[in-house]
């Protein structure tokens, strides 16, 4: 992975740690003791991580020392950002579908749509898998566990 991207990620986490530390100081009384302690430790670790990602002698030394290997951290395989965003999108679609339409409607539609559109699977296989997954949830939760499956915001009064 490009060093720039790694530095960006480390810096982002450092920003998060600084934000947490600032919020920690706003807590009243004893409730802030441990969060502030953890916040300072996190900031220290994140600074080390940012330095470790830089292509400097100090960065290489810290990376090697803290990874336990004289050859530094291993490179990881590159992945397409658009594919990653698509995968996040499908999880969020499933989540939103469940909330709005409930499990009994959202699950078959999500499984079918994911398999046909994202996985390029045949329609029949996708349809059967979608029905099978929904049937499994219905049998396991509603039939066997006698648990009423969530019907979604749209159908909750039905």
């Amino acid at each position: 992975m490009a060093a720039g991207k790694q530095i960006f990620i480390s810096a982002l986490v450092l920003l998060g740690a600084l934000g947490f530390l600032a919020l920690g100081y706003e807590l009243p009384g004893k409730g802030r003791d441990v969060p502030v302690l953890v916040g300072w430790i996190a900031v220290g670790l994140c600074v080390l991580d940012v330095v470790a990602q830089t292509p400097t002698a100090a960065g290489r030394w810290i990376a090697a020392l803290l990874s336990g290997s004289a050859s530094g951290e291993p490179e990881d395989e590159p992945r397409g950002l658009s594919l990653e965003l698509k995968s996040f999108f499908w999880v969020l679609v499933a989540c939103a579908g469940v909330i709005v339409f409930g499990f009994l409607w959202a699950v078959p539609v999500y499984v079918f749509a994911y398999m046909t559109l994202h996985g390029r699977k045949p329609v029949v296989q996708s349809g059967l898998t979608a029905l099978g997954a929904t049937a499994f949830l219905w049998i396991a939760f509603e039939l066997l566990l006698e648990y009423e499956i969530y019907r979604g915001l749209l159908f909750s009064d039905l």
Binding site: C46, G68, C95, M115, L145, Y150
Partner: protein, 504 residues
Amino acid sequence: MFDPLIDGLVMILHWKGMTMLALGVLVGLVFGAIPGLGGSTAIALFIPLTFDMKPEEAMALAGGIMGAVSFGGSITAVLLNTPGTAPSAATCFDGYPMAQQGRAGAAIGAAGAASSVGGIIGVLLLVAVIPIAKGVILAFGPPEFFMLAILGLAAIAASTGGMFLRGLIAGALGLVLAFVGYDSVSGGERFMFGIDYFWDGIPLVPTLIGLFAVGEMINLSISGGTVARTRELDMKVSGAWEGVVATFREWAVVVRGSALGAFIGAIPGVGGTVAGFLAYTTAMHSSKDPESFGKGNIVGVIAPEASNNAKDGGALLPTLAFGIPGSAEMAVFLGLLILHGLEPGPLLLIEHEATIMSLIVSLTISCIIATVIGLLFTRWLSLVTMVDVHVLVPVVVAVAFMGSFALHNKVGDVILTAAFGIVGYLMIRFRYPRVTLVIALVLGELAERSFHQAMNMTGGGWSIFFTRGISLGIFVLIVVALMIPALRFVLDRRRRAAAAGGRS
């Protein structure tokens, strides 16, 4: 010593208990066979199903899963050279060459028998150590528990290979998450941003399901293809009995591997992978024919398999006795205990001994049942890994959301699961170990409570952490754990320098 064990056995020998055990074994074998899933995902997904169960039935399910996962992983290690779980990696060295020589059945038979015997030895060692552990726990006060929580985090971060620094950062993130919600010390709310859902803190189970099940599914979805990444499965699987006989003939290897596995399993963070490799190399160095290792020596299958299953018994000790989970699987299992009102820590072994024994009995029985079922359905289990990820991913995500919601009937849990699914994937992607985050989330409350109690004991002085024998001893272990990557670096540099010197 044996009365609680008998009580536990009685609890399990009920049709419901046995059904849950059998279900757990099946789930464990399948999830163990599929690389990337494993025991933590299996338990995380099945926790919600146990909501209405009695604790001992839930223990039976968890025991079944934990006892069967490693054998499931070994089957694919032997047949496909693809370890289903990381601890089964050492089994590939000799298991796969045996399969290529037409002795797949013998390798799987040996793996199954060694797993069973190793699992039983591990559990027996656990049962033997529990009475001693109960005495030790009573000597622990708040400073010791605070130090122990920090040790758990440090040891796990140190064991994450080249991810030590990011392991510690992930641990800090886990602690940050543990601070969210109502704070019993100050009596106020922390980091809730006006969202009432967070009043009781970040719920553990939806977080676990998101990080492990959904996160792993996003990762698989991006990788694509089949899980095992191979289409090779045209070998015969017969002659398992030869492997079983060989295991009992090599009883010394089994006992040694099991003892190693149980000991290493009890050290937080070190885990089954190290145990498996250590058992393998020990068996190789003590063999009269070390050259045959890696070329299909059955002892090379027996040793890591015995240690693999024995480690579960060892790993349960810090989890149950101190509430310090030593691995991701144990952290998820801790979530199951908490769900059933079994607060891990000093009083668990004293107040709920029979329930814990039912878990131990389940683990023992599951080791045997897993071997029998695994041997009967070896070929089918291998085929599971041929499932296309684009079929597996949407189904597991749907089940994950359903399970997450079913726990408390909260839509917020589904949103949290999705959010932590993405966080889990990003952690895989950018090499922040998820296990340290989870363990910190679990230990955060214990660490903070113990810290304040210890401070109250001295009126605000830090000296209490360093003036009590056990606390100081644990502090020394923390320093050692934090030094491990640096020591590894020095040794690695010396080895490279020696190798370069040898070449020139």
